[in-house]
Symmetry: C2
C-alpha cells in the first residue's frame, strides 16, 4: 500500500481527542476561516473577554464551547477574581476547564504563515511534534533538535543524555509583527520579522526566557497548573506581563522537575501591531517590576518533595 | 556618495591586522583556492602535522608562516610534548605563536558553503561579526541574536541585560557532512546536513556544549589560554576529544568571567566524512571518559580571585 506523503493531510489528525485549542477573544472569529484545514478536527475553547452580552460569531463547522464573563463568574463564584478582565490573560480559564492532556492557545490576530517554499505552515501539527518528542535541557546540541529528520546529536554529546527529557512546553514564533515591548515598538515602528529560522531548540536548564502566549502549546498534565497567566487588565496595575509571569513559573518548575521547554518553529503570521502608546501605559510599572522579579526566579529553588507541578512541600 | 552595498567586498577587510587564520594540515593547501576572496587579505599560521620533511604547498599570494614538528620542538624544547602529534589538536600551537587579538581556525577539508540564495558564504566575515557584537548569556532571546539586523530583544527581556556581554567565542556549523561521533556515523552513514538554520545564538550561562574545532573563531585576549586542545594522537589513549576538552574549559571559564559563547552561523561545506572505524578506535575510551568528566565540568566553580583567563587563585 502506498504511504501517504508527508505533505498530505493525515487521515486522523494527531492528538485529535487529546488536545483543546484555547482562544481568548473580543471579536468575531473570522480568523478561523484561514485555520480551517488545520483546526477544524479539534475542539475549541473560546474565552470571551469584555462585554458578555456581545455575540461572538464562530464560523460554521467548528466544534466549540464558549465562556463569557457571566459563565466565568457562575462557574468560579468568588474565585472568578483570579481570572483577568479585559485582558487576553483570561485565556487561562480555558486551560482550567479543558479536560484534555494538551492545550494549544493562539491569539485571534494570528494567521497562517508560509514557510520559505511558500507552503502554508500547519502550526498546530508542528507544536504537537514538538510536544511528543523529547527535549534536551541538560546539554546543548549545536545542530538544534537532534530528534528531527536529518539531524542528530553531534560528536561530544554525552550518550547518557540522548534519551532526552519529556517536553512540557512548545513556544512558537511570529513572522511579520514581532512580539516587542512598547519601548522597542516606539523606537522601531516599521520593524517586521521576515527571518524564518528553521529550528526548534530546547531552552537549557537554568535559563529563563520571555514566554509569549500568542502561539503556545503545552502538556496540561505535566505543567498545566503552572500555566496561570498573571492577573492583568481591569483593576490591575500592570498589563502585558501575564504570559511572562507564567513563563517564569513554568520554566523554574520544568527545570526542577526535569521537563523540557522548546522554542522556535512553528511560526504564525502576526497581522497587526498593537498600539505602542496603549502598551506603554500597560507595561510602564512592569518594566521596573521585572528587573526585581527575574532575579528572584533565577535564584528560586524548589524542595525535593515537589515531585509534580501540583505537589507542594509538606509543612 | 553612494554607500557600498552590503554584498560588495569591503575596501579594508574587517580586523585585517588583528586576526590570524590557523590551519592544521598534513597536505597541500589547495583548499585555500576556494577561500582566496575571503582569506587572502589575512595572515595564515599553518601548523604542519606528521612528517616534517614533507613539503606543504601553499597557493601563491597568501601571506603565511608555517611550523612543522621540528619547529615546534625547537621553539618549545621539552614542553613540545604538550602539542599533539598526528592529530589536528596540534593547531593550538598556532594559537600560541600568534600575536593577534583574534583567531579563526578551519580544517583543510572545509570549503565555502552557499546560503539558500546560492551566494557564497564568507564564513570569516560572519565570525568577525559574531565576535564584535555582544552575547546574551544571562537570559534567552526567542528571536535569537537581538543585535542582528531585523531583530531585537522581545517583550519581557529585562532592559538591564540588553547591553549584553563581550563575546569570546564564535562556533560555526557545517553543511553536508555533520560532525558526528563514530557510533552515529556507523548508524547513519548517508546522513548529510542540508538544513540551513539562519541564526546565531548565545549558549546560555551554565550550559555546556560540544565545541567543534573545524570552524571556530575566538578572542585570544579574552579566552586564548583556555583554548588548549587536549593532548591526542600519537602515544595518547584517546582521540577526537581535543576540541571538546577545550570547549568544556572555555565554557566554564566564560561563564565565570561573564563572557559570551555563540553558535550557529556561519556554515562551511564539510566535504568528506572521516573513516568511522578509525574514529571508533580513537573515540572508544573517550566515550566512557566523557560521561565522568562532563559532570565534573558541570559542577566546577572558580574562585572570585580568578578575574581573567590567566589569573589563578592565590594560595
Amino acid at each position: 500500500m502506498a504511504q501517504p506523503s508527508s505533505s498530505s493531510k493525515p487521515v486522523v489528525p494527531l492528538l485529535k481527542d487529546e488536545l483543546d485549542i484555547v482562544i481568548p477573544t473580543i471579536r468575531n472569529l473570522d480568523f478561523l476561516e484561514m485555520w480551517r484545514p488545520f483546526f477544524e478536527p479539534y475542539h475549541l475553547i473560546i474565552v470571551q473577554d469584555g462585554d458578555p452580552n456581545r455575540t461572538i460569531n464562530v464560523p460554521e463547522g467548528f466544534d466549540y464551547e464558549l465562556y463569557n464573563r457571566n459563565d466565568i463568574n457562575r462557574i468560579l463564584g468568588p474565585k472568578a477574581s483570579c481570572i483577568s478582565v479585559k485582558d487576553s490573560a483570561c485565556r487561562c480559564f480555558g486551560y482550567m476547564v479543558s479536560k484534555k492532556k494538551y492545550i494549544y492557545t493562539i491569539d485571534d490576530d494570528c494567521f497562517v504563515a508560509k514557510d520559505p517554499s511558500g507552503k502554508d505552515i500547519n502550526a498546530l501539527e508542528q507544536h504537537i511534534k514538538n510536544l511528543l518528542c523529547p527535549s534536551t535541557p541538560f546539554f546543548f546540541n549545536t545542530l538544534y533538535d537532534p530528534y528531527r529528520e536529518g539531524a542528530d546529536f553531534v560528536r561530544g554529546y554525552p550518550f547518557s543524555l540522548r534519551e532526552g527529557a519529556p517536553t512540557a512546553v512548545s513556544h512558537g514564533l511570529w513572522l511579520n509583527i514581532p512580539d516587542y515591548d512598547a519601548p522597542t515598538q516606539l523606537v522601531k515602528p516599521l520593524e517586521r520579522n521576515t527571518r524564518y529560522v528553521d529550528a526548534v531548540l530546547t531552552i537549557p536548564k537554568g535559563t529563563l526566557f520571555p514566554m509569549c502566549g500568542m502561539n503556545l502549546a503545552f502538556d496540561r498534565q505535566l505543567i498545566g497548573p503552572a500555566m496561570y497567566f498573571g492577573l492583568m487588565g481591569d483593576g490591575q496595575p500592570i498589563g502585558r506581563y501575564d504570559d511572562m509571569w507564567a513563563g517564569w513559573c513554568v520554566k523554574v518548575i520544568c527545570d526542577h522537575l526535569g521537563l523540557g521547554v522548546k522554542t522556535g518553529l512553528p511560526y504564525i503570521w502576526h497581522s497587526k501591531a498593537s498600539n505602542p502608546f496603549v502598551n506603554l501605559k500597560k507595561e510602564y510599572k512592569g518594566i521596573f517590576w521585572q528587573e526585581e522579579i527575574i532575579p528572584f526566579f533565577q535564584s528560586a529553588t524548589l524542595s525535593k518533595e515537589c515531585t509534580s507541578v501540583q505537589k507542594k512541600k509538606k509543612k
